[in-house]
Amino acid sequence: MEIERLDEADALVADQDQAGDQGVATPETRDQQAYRAEYRATVEAAYSWDTAALELRQTWAAHKTKWPSPEDPGPGDRHLDPEANAEVERACGRIRDIGENIITPAMRAIESEDPDRHLIGLDHRLKGTERLKEKVAAELEARPGLSAAQALASVPDAIRFTLCYTEDRYVAGVTGVLERLTACGFELAKRPRNSWDSDQYKGINTQWREPETGQRFEVQFHTWASFEAKQLSHAAYERIRDASTPAAELDELEDFQRQVCAKIPIPPGSTEITSAPRKERDA
């Protein structure tokens, strides 16, 4: 399949042409008192999270002492049959090409339009082959009748990006990027998953489709605190996924995730973001 290669510099120029108000800093409209109150709330929330993060790291260290993990947990008991294995390996090169030549340049261009937009963890934008196989294997197991090709095609995060904002810029930031991605021609493959009211995870995950190739990719929206929380609880999540983890430890792992989430400051208005941008809704 031939892929139209989008040059990064060209993409930037094209996107600036379409940027309109998106590429311009928003003028300050709040009065001084409101601004100070919001600034104080943001600083206090950030301070409170920093203190909590320190304590949560200690809690996790204590958990690891109580439940030492195996030296090498190994690949688990899920394996793809040779045909499915070959299917995933063949697809990885194609996914990498689309990710590196089409989607990543577009995401970088979108990031550059707004100084409040920060793509983080970009080195991890491509899911590793083994993790992809693991995900396809888990899906095939829980989804009788599905082919490996179908499972692979519906993996949303073989290519993934994370955008971070401060609490006060979060809602405008998310809304702006949803609109920009749609304006760039990407299609929202599913309704955004807003987890700001969840007790296990905080953030918004969105799933997109590149129209020419049909390749899915994921864009996660975090605040700096929710991103740090995700990193902080990642090892707990890995243990939850491990089939050899004892059931009693699972409860404690979930409890740890709850403790982490409970400390994350909630950006104002974030729980109300549930819909696609207007262009997508009206389609």
Partner: protein, 85 residues
């Protein structure tokens, strides 16, 4: 605490709420909880897909269903695999 089971319909790109693609159950016991999926091998096996969705993964949607509804999905999977229910 007696064993408590919650069933979930698994809905993905190739299925719908009317005809879910699979079924997952969360079992809570005194010694902790475990998630299991009804697999193509026609047995329940541990799965992390529900946890993955709770952590924001958008690949599958999970909807709580009754035990009767869950058993209907199990029966359908058995029938489609050619196994007697």
């Amino acid at each position: 605490m007696p064993e408590e089971i919650t069933y979930y319909a698994l809905v993905d790109d190739y299925s719908s709420r009317e005809k879910p693609g699979g079924v997952v159950r969360r079992i809570r016991r005194d010694e902790g909880q475990q998630d299991e999926a009804f697999t193509g091998e026609l047995i329940w096996k541990p799965t992390w897909l529900l946890h993955s969705a709770e952590r924001g993964d958008t690949m599958n949607d999970f909807y709580p269903i009754t035990e009767d509804e869950a058993m209907q999905i199990v029966d359908r999977i058995r029938r489609e695999s050619g196994s007697p229910s």
